[in-house]
């Protein structure tokens, strides 16, 4: 009851460690009279509000999109790299209820060459309105619009294994997983279908 009386009268005390700007804003917010109470647009203009909160929460991945590290040599895969790709060694399904198709990583083999894979990805980027950054072995796509969790970003890396065999790993770099899965099934997979490795016909 006492609480309600306090609300009705706008009777409150700010803790002593509140800044004066915060105090001023809160006084205007807790105004019991709706006619004189501060409006949202005015809140956004207030000095306290404008102090340190970033206008838009940009994720680190979005900021570092341009920094495609061209530095290090692509690691050539050895037999153990291939083995470590095996599903049997990947224990993460123990913790997920996800089905196989919804994994965040897509891996496939291709006869290559790498330039073919890259040009395919470029086509996908153009069709899906993504901006693209690339090196000889790495490609990054970033959506131009923000999705549910920021801009959807996809990273693809090409690993040479043998002269006529490459392994390409595609994974979500930023953004919402559902959007990523949709992108994979509707745009990425169809575009890559014909360069997927198929076993050589038995001789």
């Amino acid at each position: 009851m006492v609480m309600y009386r306090k609300i009705y009268r706008g009777d409150f005390k700010c803790p002593p460690w509140f800044s004066s700007e915060a105090r001023r804003l809160i006084t205007k917010l807790l105004d019991p009279n709706p006619a004189t109470r501060i409006t949202i647009p005015k809140v956004m203009e207030s000095s306290w509000f404008n102090k340190s909160v970033p206008k838009v929460l940009v994720t680190k991945a979005e900021m570092e999109f341009d920094k495609l590290d061209k530095g290090n040599e692509p690691e050539t895969l050895n037999a153990f790299h291939i083995i470590s790709l095996s599903e049997g060694f990947d224990l993460s399904p123990l913790f997920q209820g996800k089905k196989m198709e919804e994994k965040e990583e897509l891996r496939f083999g291709t006869a290559g060459p790498a330039s073919c894979v890259i040009s395919r990805l470029e086509e996908v980027a153009k069709a899906g309105k993504f901006s693209i950054m690339k090196t000889e072995t790495k490609v990054k796509l970033q959506g131009l619009e923000r999705g549910r969790k920021g801009k959807l970003a996809i990273a693809a890396e090409i690993f040479p294994v043998a002269p006529s065999f490459l392994v390409v790993e595609v994974r979500k770099d930023n953004g919402d997983t559902l959007e990523y899965n949709q992108f994979c099934s509707k745009e990425l997979r169809p575009a890559l279908k014909d360069i997927l490795w198929t076993s050589p016909p038995p001789s």
């Binding site: 050895n78 037999a79 049997g88 060694f89 224990l91 399904p93 294994v161 043998a162």
Partner: protein, 222 residues
């Protein structure tokens, strides 16, 4: 005569008790927490996961091979050379089933905070298919072929041989046709990505993925 029977009886009961102990509820979370990388709450959360997996086929508080395959591949129809190896390594008692202790101790190695040496050891044992203390060329070939077959990729024998040649050139520094524990360790230190599947980030968030432990917590809040 009666003493004999009583003797057998106690022996029998003790045997049963051992099995029973293995399948009973979470006995001593603090002990497991002390001996693994996990905290007590993480052990309790892990126990929730264990209960889920171990009740899939037979609700006996133990994970058998089928339940393990089910949890890993979402189907018990899939046989995998690798899943078999993983299961065998988890099964330190070698009785074909995993109790919670074995489960927790093995998974502790996969925690992001587990010592790298443990991961190196575990992965070496994993790949040492015949458990001879070294990884042979034949074993590597078997695993490469099996992995590629999983994704429907079959490379020609020539290509596979050349991949393995290159690998052994780099790894087999003693040139004896096998990779021993030291050679494996140097290889991994040069290519840390080889240990990628030895770390499960999920283990860090396990208390949020399996929060129901909160209601069953046996540990007093201090």
């Amino acid at each position: 005569m009666i003493q004999c029977i009583e003797g057998f009886q106690t022996l029998f009961l003790r045997c049963c008790d051992l099995d029973y102990k293995q399948s009973r509820g979470l006995e001593d979370p603090e002990l497991l927490a002390r001996e693994t990388v996990f905290s007590v709450s993480e052990i309790e959360a892990l126990y929730e996961l264990f209960k889920k997996i171990s009740s899939a086929v037979i609700d006996d508080g133990l994970i058998n091979k089928e339940e393990f395959q089910l949890a890993l591949f979402k189907t018990n129809k899939k046989e995998s050379l690798f899943a078999d190896r993983v299961f065998d390594l988890f099964d330190t008692k070698h009785n074909g089933i995993l109790g919670f202790e074995e489960f927790a101790r093995a998974l502790s190695v996969f925690h992001p905070n587990a010592p790298v040496d443990d991961k190196i050891d575990f992965s070496f044992q994993l790949y040492d298919l015949k458990q001879q203390g070294f990884i042979e060329r034949q074993e590597v070939k078997q695993m490469v072929v099996a992995t590629l077959a999983e994704s429907g990729m079959n490379l020609s024998d020539e290509v596979i041989e050349s991949i393995i040649d290159k690998t052994f050139e780099e790894a087999d520094t003693k040139h004896d046709g096998k990779i021993d524990k030291e050679e494996w360790r140097s290889l991994v230190l040069q290519h840390p990505s080889l240990l990628k599947n030895m770390t499960l980030q999920y283990l860090k968030d396990i208390t949020t993925t399996f929060p129901s432990f909160v209601f069953h917590s046996q540990v007093d809040d201090t």
